[in-house]
């Protein structure tokens, strides 16, 4: 009798342990963000929002009963470190997928590692080379520069503007924008009449703007990330330039208005919808995701959730979707990622396919303008 009780207790015990182990087996996801260093303006919000959304998913019971476990490493924006840490995520932490890195340079360096070890990588950087040509294991959430340039040119075409001057920063972001600005101009009947660059750390761009003033273009397009474009806005105001000024999605945050002050007034940029989430019509398919994201981010970090944070949010949610549809290994997660259809995220509406691992369309960008020290949608 006693033996039977003990043995049944043992069986029961082992059953409980087994089910607990099954339910608890977490799914490990790696993340590489440039939390420190020159690209920390990307990496920090990305890490914050990735952690936030993973916590929310786990609090709601995980994905199909599995908790998500996020392993984040800081690359400090260094390509060599990014490669070492990607190897660490794959070999030592044995993650099933990697989110990040934050910059195009790091992403390009990590791609060979992901391709070789067959681990899905969802990059949070914008460079067009990341997913073109399509690489089997590599996806991305940040909008291509192609789309941003297209959005500006579309507007210029509508206003019958033909002659533009471009002023771009000499880093990865700027040179990619410069390439696209020059390549797409002809398609919209636009000629680039002058092509100037400035250094990422320059503090005065009066020289370039004076030159541009002499050329008298119909519009100026400046491509860069903070603080350069704010300096350009101020310089243009000081020189009394009346030429319409367009900038890139690289400055799409309230920070830009803070930096440029009154000089920001009237400047137009193509931007992800997160910047004007509150102003979007209810019919917008992204509205629900955007409002959730903005509110959650505000609650957790008491800060404005920008589109950089959105890239990481999208990446985690895309993975969640892939796992829900049955992805349970690196290979099946990859296959399911590729089957993502009409996911309304922060950066836009994603539809991946075997030929498209960037997944976004023209509707990812809206044109916004600074009016009364705030961003408004240009109708």
């Amino acid at each position: 009798m006693r033996i039977r009780v003990i043995s049944s207790l043992i069986v029961l015990g082992s059953l409980i342990v087994a089910t607990a182990a099954l339910a608890a087996a977490p799914i490990k996801i790696g993340a590489l963000f440039a939390v420190t260093g020159p690209a920390s303006f990307l990496g920090e919000p990305e890490r914050n929002s990735a952690k936030m959304v993973v916590d929310e998913i786990n609090a709601a019971g995980g994905v199909k009963g599995h908790k998500l476990e996020l392993v984040v490493y800081d690359t400090s924006g260094d390509a060599t470190k990014a490669v070492q840490l990607a190897t660490r995520l794959i070999k030592d932490d044995k993650v099933l997928a990697i989110i990040g890195p934050s910059t195009t340079g790091e992403s390009m360096a990590v791609i060979p590692v992901a391709e070789k070890d067959h681990i899905p990588l969802i990059s949070c950087s914008a460079g067009i080379k990341i997913t073109e040509p399509v690489k089997r294991w590599v996806f991305k959430t940040a909008q291509n520069d192609t789309l941003a340039v297209g959005r500006i040119y579309q507007q210029l075409q509508k206003q019958r503007v033909r002659r533009v001057s471009i002023l771009t920063v000499s880093d990865g972001f700027g040179s990619s924008g410069r390439e696209q600005l020059k390549a797409q101009a002809a398609r919209f009947g636009i000629t680039v009449v002058s092509d100037d660059t400035y250094g990422p750390k320059d503090t005065d761009m009066t020289a370039q703007l004076t030159r541009i003033r002499g050329i008298k273009p119909d519009a100026i397009i400046c491509w860069g990330t903070n603080p350069g474009p704010a300096v350009i806005a101020r310089n243009a105001r000081q020189l009394g330039l009346k030429i319409p000024l367009y900038m890139s999605h690289g400055v799409s945050s309230r920070k830009f208005i803070e930096l440029a002050g009154d000089a920001a007034e009237g400047i137009r940029i193509p931007s992800g919808k997160v910047l004007v989430a509150g102003l979007l019509p209810k019919s917008d398919p992204q509205k629900k995701s955007l409002m959730t994201f903005v509110k959650d981010y505000q609650r957790h970090y008491h800060a404005e959730g920008d589109h950089f944070a959105g890239h990481a949010w999208d990446a985690v949610m895309l993975l969640k979707g892939a796992i829900e549809r049955g992805g349970n290994s690196a290979a099946t997660i990859r296959d399911q990622l590729e089957k993502t259809r009409q996911f309304h995220g922060i950066g836009g509406t994603f539809t991946y396919s075997a030929h498209d691992h960037a997944g976004l369309g023209k509707d990812a960008f809206v044109l916004v303008e600074v009016k009364g020290r705030d961003w408004v949608i240009v109708k």
């Binding site: 390509a79 490669v83 070492q84 030592d92 390009m108 791609i111 000499s170 880093d171």
Partner: protein, 318 residues
Amino acid sequence: MHRDLLKFMLFAAMILAAPLAFQGGYLMNVLVFVGINTMLAIGLNLLLGYCGQISLGHAGFFGLGAYLSGVLSTTYGWNPWQAMPLAAVVVGSLAFLIGFPILKLKGHYLAMATLGMGIIMYIVFNETIDLTGGPSGLSGIPNLSIGSLDFDSDVSSYYLIWSFTLATILLTLNLANSRVGRALRAVHDSEVAARVMGVNARLLKVQIFALSAVISSLAGSLYAHTMTFISPASFGFNFSIELLTMVVIGGLGSIYGSFLGAALLTLLPEFLRAAQDYDIIIYGGLLMLMVMFMPGGLVRGVPDLFRRLLKKGGDRHA
């Protein structure tokens, strides 16, 4: 001399056996970069530690080697094994030519001139977009291979890189113990005295500068073919300073010191990752303590520390 050879054999055996201890882990990948950094630190140490001439632009030579090798093999379809020596020859000759005017300068002026040289090279990598790919980098660089053996895994790259590093160590150890090495140290202590003794100090400095650039260029080529992607950010001023830190922390004028410095600066951040957000503070603090209490570098400081500890222990017993 026999003892030196024995020491080298022991060191080489340790290096060759290391993969057995780290089987398959990511540390193998980090150790590959320890090898590359060791080569770079030795190159700079020849110049700074032995000859007493500072360079704040060595990341430029490193980058030039990487880009020459990368562009030749990727854009022009060269065999990497041909691109690598060509890059080394070009970088060496360039350094030889730059060396004559630059090495006439001393102290702060030399530091400034080499700093400028490094920054100019960085700007060239960054702005010649059609050739180097500019800030978004150059990708798709082929791996080195011998026959059907492709050096694309961590373990195979480890042996590839470390055979180059060990060869560099052997070469520089021999150089340091030869007549040239003694002449270098003489120039370090007093250039005038060295010249009085019949050392052609000017030519010697330029030759060492060129040799140091060749070693950096080889390290650069190896880096390019291992990473298969390069971008200018890896070859900027910050990296020149990191190299300088490796040499100083490891020990000026010591080949094994350069290895210790490179290993410490490459591995320490990996171990400190456990401290999460505080890693940078601990890292900086440790470096500061080492410079304060081990001015001769790790290679002299660590044995000193042991000796002092042993002595203390001995006193207590007595």
